[in-house]
Amino acid sequence: MRKINISIFSNDFIITLCYIILVFFGFISIYSSQHSEDLPFLSLKNESFKQLIWILICLIIFFIIQILEYRFIFDLAVPLYFLSIVLLVLVLIFGQEVKSSISWFNFFGFKFQPSEFAKFSTALILAKVFDSSNLKVDSLKSLIKVSTLILVPFILILFQGDTGTALVYFSFFLVLLREGLSLKLFFIALSFVFIFMMGIILEKTILYTIFTILFLIIVGLSIKDYKRIINSSIFFVLVILVINGQDFLMNNVLKPHHKKRIESLINPNADPLGAGWNVTQSKIAIGSGSFLGKGYMEGSQTSFNFVPFQSTDFIFSVIGEEFGYFGSMIFIILYFIFLYRVLTLAENQKDKFARVFGYSVFSIIFFHFFINISMTLGLFPVVGIPLPFVSYGGSSLLSFSLLIFIFLKLNSFKPSLLSR
């Protein structure tokens, strides 16, 4: 007899507690950013009220997942992945354009973003693939196999013009790092991305010159080491290909607004009133918070709508302004405890499916957290991705919650796994 465990207390206490506090932090910050003379709380136009509804929906989903069978989640991985690919294609055809990216379905006023959902299903399929074929990313063949699963949704989302969300798919390569991907290869790939980005800012001739000089120096230094010369020659050819490929992609594949998006990602000053303005105002808001903050609901920088997208991508600026350094650090440390706990729990999973999924959850949330806070603090270009659990938005709250809930479920199932 298998016992269906539906006790909440069998879930990890630290993760559950952190989750609740983070969602609460998010709600009060959205409430503060939305607080206005002309907007009653109990109105479907008030984002804080809508967020409350979404939080309640998440609560219901939590209990539904508690009674799901382990096998059910496992079996769902493949169909869910294909469903999300289909949705990503459909949204390109039938989707609604919001802020120049076509990533939303509109069902009777309720908006749904398939790209959020696709993160979750990609995490599941990775876990399934690693588990069922006992895969290890140590050969080029296996790397290509796994990368395809990640890059298909990535490219589809890129076509929607939602560069920020697409970038998040790179976080799955962190999972591969745990599953055998060599650190060297990882950094080489990272440097190609870097060169690609450089190609947008700098003239091609400058890049050619730099890399030719670098190549000649390396060759000169390793006259007798043939292997290194061959390796660096291959690398050099790849660099040239990347630089030219970037040019081809920018001019022939991407539409003008995609191009502008990538350009402003690299160089926010290209769009000073959009991205640059956000960052300046966000920094002023956070900086003005001082050590103890201005007090809840007393942030002044929202007046005249100083920080745009304050309830979504720039929600941390509300926390920084109203709770100061003290409150911000509590928030940041709380987030780190949460991430650390997810990481260690993931590593402790005996089951490979659970482990890979746990690492995916960690990577996705970490990536969002890192990019979002960085851009709010002016350390990273504005790419418009939400802060998990905190930013306003039903699709994002739902998909992040789903990730955590499923992971908690997989984790709590551990004891009975032995008796399987």
Binding site: G287, E298, S300, G320, G324, Y325, L343, E347
Partner: protein
């Protein structure tokens, strides 16, 4: 398995934690620059309101322009006064009112600006401007307010007011914010997108004292304001004002069209109001007063009031009769007074004489021939076929349609169809005797004054029209001219009817409007009104050849069409064609306004 698999991730986590906490420490504790930037040296995102498009008449007189008015905001935390008395005086409020306002603002937020005083006129602002320096924590934003120098053409121009929640939620472009202005009716509403332009943004730095100390980054990030487009109307404001003067003290409307283009020369509805009262500080009070007025001055009768057309409809019956060949131009018949009440005497009539004398019995007979053409032996079915054929003709005259006019929500009037009578009497249970009132333009028929002006224009053109239009140019660019619409009714039929209309004015019911040089052709209506005195109606055009103006007038409860409506139309046509009027006696007659008591 070698070592801790999570090590690399823990290192990354650690590095990021150090990065974030030191960056936060730098921004929030170490570096005081951002604090001062926020608290004192504020970069304000100032919205620059575009100036709303100016509206001109056909001779380039300005009909609508903008005057600045000022909104004041208060930030309670920064609010302090050197001289309370001068402050109270500037805003003409009492001390307790000020305290209440501050309390209300502070309960919202001490740091954020709250609206304090709305729509201060430019005149008042100039008087107190020098004192503003002493009022800390008070900021003002200037915004353009509509001004109507002629106090005329109120209904067609419409008015602007602050957006309400409906406007904001139905705005898919997300342009409007609370307290923005939006066109609420008339041209202001229908050409909102052209008139409003697009808001700009200016980034300004304020110094410690709250004074503006320059633009942020030298203004490179500002968004240039895009001012609204100028509109040019086809209206002749002098004619418009002259007609409004003639309509004073009356209820009704007059529409004048240039038949050669469909352009509206004048569109007046009475009683009217000064459009300036709906612009500015007392908007809501004044709007409520206009709403409560039993004569409904805010209601645009020219577009939305529906009346039975009355005897002027006999012209349409005559044209359909000629085209359907149920009557010919030389036919003479004896008409007795047995069928329907009539003011015309019994006798031998041809069509011309029937129009001039407005013989009800003649048109009763004509309409019967139109409806019952013996297309079916069953008289009920025959009536049905006849009515459907007839109403297709009537619709060709632009009746029952909104004519695709520039100002929306105009009424289409009503042309009864056989389905309508089916509902009313039951299918197959009505025949000519149930619908004969239509023969003289009474019964269920309903038309609007602008439709009748368009009808006058059709006759003036002898058989075609242009959809009436009022806005001719946007930013100096001509709006593409609309198409001539032919009715497919023979031009000679129109010539015949026009001759009769000339006689109506020369020695028929509209002889009061006769003037030799004017060559006015027309037809009067005395519209039966069950609720009071009959309505006085007239349509006409002048001069007979090469008409310059087509006009329709409805004056409510003014009795005979030959009096108020014909006189006003005749004077307006004279004024438009000759630039002045010579017939002071007729003007006095109209202005005096005793149309009922006089007996002839």
């Amino acid at each position: 398995m070698s070592g801790d698999k999570t090590l690399i991730f823990k290192i990354i986590l650690g590095l990021v934690l150090i990065l974030f906490s030191s960056r936060l420490f730098y921004l929030q504790v170490y570096n005081s620059e951002y604090r001062t930037l926020s608290e004192e040296n504020i970069v304000h995102l100032e919205t620059i309101y575009p100036s709303r498009g100016i509206i001109y008449d056909r001779n380039d007189s300005i009909l609508v322009e903008n005057r600045p008015s000022y909104d004041f905001y208060i930030i309670p935390r920064k609010f302090s006064l050197k001289d309370t008395a001068s402050f109270l005086n500037s805003f003409s409020i009492k001390k307790y009112q000020l305290e209440e306002l501050i309390k209300k603002a502070a309960s919202y937020s001490r740091y954020r600006p709250s609206i304090f005083y709305k729509d201060m006129s430019h005149k008042r602002f100039a008087q107190i401007q020098s004192d503003l320096y002493h009022f800390n924590g008070i900021y003002h934003v200037s915004k353009p307010t509509r001004y109507y120098p002629f106090k005329s053409l109120s209904h067609a121009l419409g008015y602007v007011a602050e957006v309400n929640n409906n406007d904001i939620s139905s705005d898919t472009t997300n342009y409007y914010r609370q307290r923005d202005l939006i066109g609420k009716s008339g041209i202001e509403k229908n050409f909102e997108k052209d008139l409003r332009g697009n808001k700009g943004v200016r980034l300004k730095i304020y110094d410690v004292r709250g004074n503006e100390s320059g633009s942020f980054k030298g203004g490179v990030d500002d968004i240039i304001v895009d001012n609204g487009s100028e509109l040019k109307l086809s209206i002749d404001i002098n004619l418009q004002r002259y007609i409004e003067k003639l309509l004073e003290g009356k209820t009704g409307s007059v529409v004048a069209i240039d038949p050669s283009s469909g352009e509206l020369l004048a569109i007046a509805s009475a009683p009217s109001y000064d459009p300036n009262v709906l612009s500015g500080r007392d908007y809501s009070k004044n709007y409520r007063n206009l709403q409560l007025d039993t004569l409904k001055p805010i209601y645009n009768r020219a577009l939305t009031a529906t009346y039975p057309p009355g005897s002027m409809f006999k012209l349409i019956q005559a044209l359909i009769g000629l085209e359907e060949d149920v009557v010919s131009k030389d036919d003479q018949i004896y008409v007795d007074l047995s069928r329907i009440g009539d003011l015309a005497p019994a006798g031998i009539y041809d069509l011309n004489k029937a129009i001039v004398n407005s013989s009800n019995n003649y048109f009763h007979m004509l309409f019967r021939k139109l409806i019952n053409q013996k297309r079916d032996n069953n008289t009920f079915i025959d009536s049905r076929i006849g009515l459907d054929r007839w109403s297709e003709y009537v619709k060709k005259f632009g009746l029952g349609s909104d004519l695709d006019f520039d100002i929306s929500n105009m009424s289409s009037g009503f042309i009864p169809s056989s389905e309508y009578y089916d509902r009313f009497y039951g299918k197959g249970r009505w025949k000519f005797s149930n619908i004969y009132s239509l023969s003289i333009g009474q019964g269920e028929l309903l038309v609007t004054p602008i439709q009748m002006a368009n009808f006058a224009s059709i006759i003036a053109n002898r058989g075609y029209y242009y959809n009436p239009n009022i806005v001719t140019h946007i930013n100096g660019k001509k709006i593409s001219n609309n198409q001539r619409k032919y009715l497919d009714i023979d031009k000679t039929h129109f010539d015949y009817v026009v001759d009769a209309m000339e006689k109506v004015v020369m020695n028929g019911s509209a002889r009061r409007g006769f003037m030799k040089e004017l060559m006015l052709c027309g037809k009067t209506s005395t519209v039966q009104n069950p609720h009071g005195y009959d309505h006085s109606g007239f349509i006409g055009f002048a001069p007979k050849n090469n008409p310059k103006i087509a006009i329709a007038a409805y004056i409510e409860n003014a009795g005979w069409g030959g009096r108020a409506a014909a006189s006003i139309s005749s004077l307006a046509s004279e004024y438009y064609i000759f630039g002045k009027t010579k017939r002071n006696w007729l003007e006095d007659y109209v202005l005096n306004g005793d149309f009922i008591d006089e007996e002839n």
